[in-house]
């Protein structure tokens, strides 16, 4: 009896392909379709946020105010950050998680398909609202993505819409994170133990817990801003006994783990790719897991390193400095393990590997400047300058974004069933690498020489490096069009094999290319599948 029911269900699955038309996407509960939508959404936001970066770099190309007013400039830096953080980087990783986690752990879909649909479709609404503030009286939010009061309370009509859109982004992320955790905990192939999970899955599991822990805290902080503005509370208003500095504490209690939310999945992606193209297993799988977990833990106790200039007792400064420096240890372990994975491998340099290598080099440079920033007395000089801008762009652009690109190239043949254009892929990598350094490396010098961040115009002594950075930024922006072309033409390439890469490892490569709409309707034997490739 029960077997016939199961058969019938299976049968229904086989017949049941995607519905036609827009309904397939609007009401989709299929992890692959939702993953695709996340990735397309993220790419769109990447270009919108990128266009704002181009406005910023145009204005800063030479001294003097040429194109925009200072208020609008501030709106651009604020919106650029919000869009890139919440609209481009985070949804890209959620997209990769949607596509790949079920395939990697041998699950038929995400555990909560309908919630999955909701968590995606909230995002376009959230960003529609956020972008609409550009047209509102008083302009778009211009207080920086950090939204410090009292400045943020001077936002015009856009203020409640800013808060509402941040709430929606938070709800979307939390639902996505819950889905990832439930999928990983409950839907793994029967003989895949937790510690045996692929590194991408592991890093996402940690990220998902971070998301659930801190996105609600951000929601709380912006809710307090909202009630301070409209409902007479004084959480952050000194006049009513509140404290504006408290917002900074609560914000960075969210904000520092947020940094790792944007980098841990990137660690996961490159930890999949480097072994494949080194034709060697990931070195120190377990220590990678422990390092990732320690980073996540430490991220909760270092928040005030963003606030060394705010006026802190000596003991506080000491504590936050030491805790922050400690993060260098597990981060170092990760880098060393990647290098050890490459060591005595048999490497080839396809585009995913190039982006991963670029990631390891350039993320490490961002790590170095991060270590410098941890030194509290020196941070007093670096804080709120272009040195900080250089630092976090190194970890986010050739860090997170390169890892996302690496993942996209790595799994694109599995998604489309065709090989992308390798020559163009390599060109995309080299141009991106050259221009990303041209853009962000000079910013270190600007910051050290005394240029504050978030200013629309600057003293003439900063002119040369700003011009170089602007040229680099335009070069980087244009280079990303190659990526769009590669993706659009990916369906024209030669047919991809199921295995795609010679050194592939893991369950996702046991399903056909392109991956059919339904996969693993019966659970695979994970160990068998993995051993097939050894």
């Amino acid at each position: 009896m029960s077997s016939t029911v199961a058969d019938a269900l299976d049968h229904e699955h086989d017949d049941h392909g995607p519905t036609k038309g827009i309904g397939r996407w609007l009401f989709s509960t299929n992890h692959k379709d939702i993953g695709t939508m996340y990735l397309i959404f993220s790419l769109t936001m990447f270009f919108i946020g990128g266009a704002m970066a181009m406005v910023i770099r145009s204005e800063l190309a030479v001294p003097g105010l040429q194109f925009v007013h200072p208020e609008f400039f501030n709106s651009m830096t604020t919106m650029h950050a919000l869009i890139m953080v919440f609209g481009a980087v985070m949804p890209a990783f959620v997209g990769l998680a949607n596509w790949m986690i079920p395939l990697m752990i041998g699950a038929p879909d995400m555990a909560l398909p309908r919630m999955n649909n909701w968590s995606f479709w909230i995002l376009p609404v959230a960003f529609g609202i956020l972008l609409s503030t550009l047209l509102m009286p008083g302009g778009a939010p211009a207080s920086g993505w950090t939204m410090y009061p009292p400045l943020v309370l001077q936002t015009g009509d856009a203020f409640p819409f800013l808060i509402f859109s941040v709430h929606l982004m938070g709800i979307s992320s939390i639902m996505g994170a819950i889905n990832v955790i439930v999928t990983i905990i409950n839907m793994r192939a029967p003989d895949m133990s937790l510690l045996k999970m692929p590194m991408f899955v592991w890093m996402w599991l940690i990220t998902a817990y971070l998301l659930i822990a801190v996105m609600p805290v951000l929601a709380g902080a912006v809710t307090m801003l909202l009630t301070d503005q409209f409902f007479g509370t004084s959480f952050f208003l000194a006049a009513g006994g509140g404290d504006p500095v408290m917002f900074q504490h609560i914000f960075w209690f969210f904000g520092h783990p947020e940094v790792y939310i944007m980098i841990l999945p990137a660690f996961g992606v490159v930890s999949e790719i480097i072994p494949t193209f080194s034709r060697k297993k990931l070195f120190g799988h377990d220590s990678m897991v422990y390092a990732g977990s320690s980073i996540a833990f430490l991220s909760f106790i270092v928040w005030a390193h963003h606030m060394f200039t705010v006026g802190m007792p000596l003991t506080g400064q000491m504590f936050f400095m030491f805790a922050t420096m400690l993060i260098a240890v597990p981060t170092g372990v990760k880098v060393f393990n990647w290098v050890a994975t490459m060591w005595r491998g048999a490497m080839t340099f396809e585009t995913p590997m190039l982006f991963s290598l670029g990631f390891v080099f350039l993320f490490t440079i961002g790590g170095f400047s991060g270590l410098m920033l941890a030194i509290a007395p020196a941070d007093i000089q670096y804080h709120d300058t272009y040195f900080v801008v250089a630092h976090f762009h190194y970890v986010l652009v050739p860090g997170s974004v390169f890892a996302i690109m690496a993942g996209a190239y790595y799994w694109l043949p599995k998604w489309t069933g065709h090989m992308y254009n390798e020559t163009l892929g390599k060109a995309h990598f080299w141009l991106s690498t050259i221009f990303v350094n041209l853009t962000f490396f000079p910013m270190h010098f600007l910051g050290l020489a005394g240029m504050p961040r978030r200013i629309p115009d600057y003293s003439t002594q900063f002119a040369d490096f700003n011009t170089i950075a602007s040229i680099g930024a335009f070069g980087f922006g244009l280079s990303q069009l190659i990526f769009v072309w590669i993706v659009v033409t990916a369906w024209r390439g030669e047919k991809a094999t199921d295995r795609v890469w010679e050194g592939s490892h893991g369950l996702e490569w046991t399903v056909p290319s392109p991956a059919p709409w339904h996969t693993f309707t019966t659970p695979p034997k994970a160990r068998i599948a993995q051993e097939a490739f050894e």
Binding site: P216, G220, F235, L237, P313
Partner: protein, 177 residues
């Protein structure tokens, strides 16, 4: 299916708890500030302390007054600084003035620097404990009675006490400018 639902439920509870934790950070932050002196907090209600003068040590107290957001007040201290012994009670007087032609209510927000001193600057009586009503154009002296705790770390020799005057009407209207 059942497993999924119960784990989802637990994670939702965790998310809700973290939302609550965000708000719980508000009182936690107050405690944190009182312990560490973060934010220059001092006691907001009258304290009762025994005098135990330490005549071997002298501390310089500097007063600083500000009016926020161009509020129509004047606030000044009658002396700009004084030298005190820890453990001994002192009085100081501040003068507030309503520059506008209407009745106004002001609140004074105290802040102490350096942070290490803030828990050791103890106010016995202070005009900042309550809001201050001013008739149009009124000028009034306002008292402060304080004691410096002898436990004050020895690397502090100067304490700055700052008061910022706010117009409560404006604060209520939440119009920051």
């Amino acid at each position: 299916m059942h497993e999924n639902r119960s784990l989802t439920g637990r994670l939702l509870v965790l998310a809700a708890a973290m939302f609550g934790f965000g708000f719980a950070l508000v009182p936690l932050y107050d405690v944190f500030c009182e312990i560490t002196g973060f934010g220059g907090r001092t006691n907001a209600t009258a304290a009762v302390v025994e005098e135990a003068p330490d005549l071997t040590r002298e501390i310089r107290i500097e007063f600083m007054t500000t009016v926020n957001s161009y509020a129509p007040f004047e606030l000044s201290s009658d002396v700009s600084s004084m030298t005190v012994n820890p453990g001994k009670m002192y009085f100081a007087t501040f003068t507030g003035k309503n520059l506008s032609g209407e009745n106004k209510i002001a609140v004074a927000r105290p802040s102490v620097a350096p942070p290490a001193a803030s828990e050791h600057f103890v106010k016995i009586e202070c005009f900042c404990f309550e809001s201050q009503e001013f008739a149009a154009g009124e000028e009034r002296a306002m008292p402060l009675q304080f004691i410096v705790d002898p436990e004050l770390p020895d690397y502090v020799d100067t304490i700055t006490l700052g008061y910022t005057f706010y117009d409560t009407a404006r604060a209520a209207a939440n119009n920051p400018l």
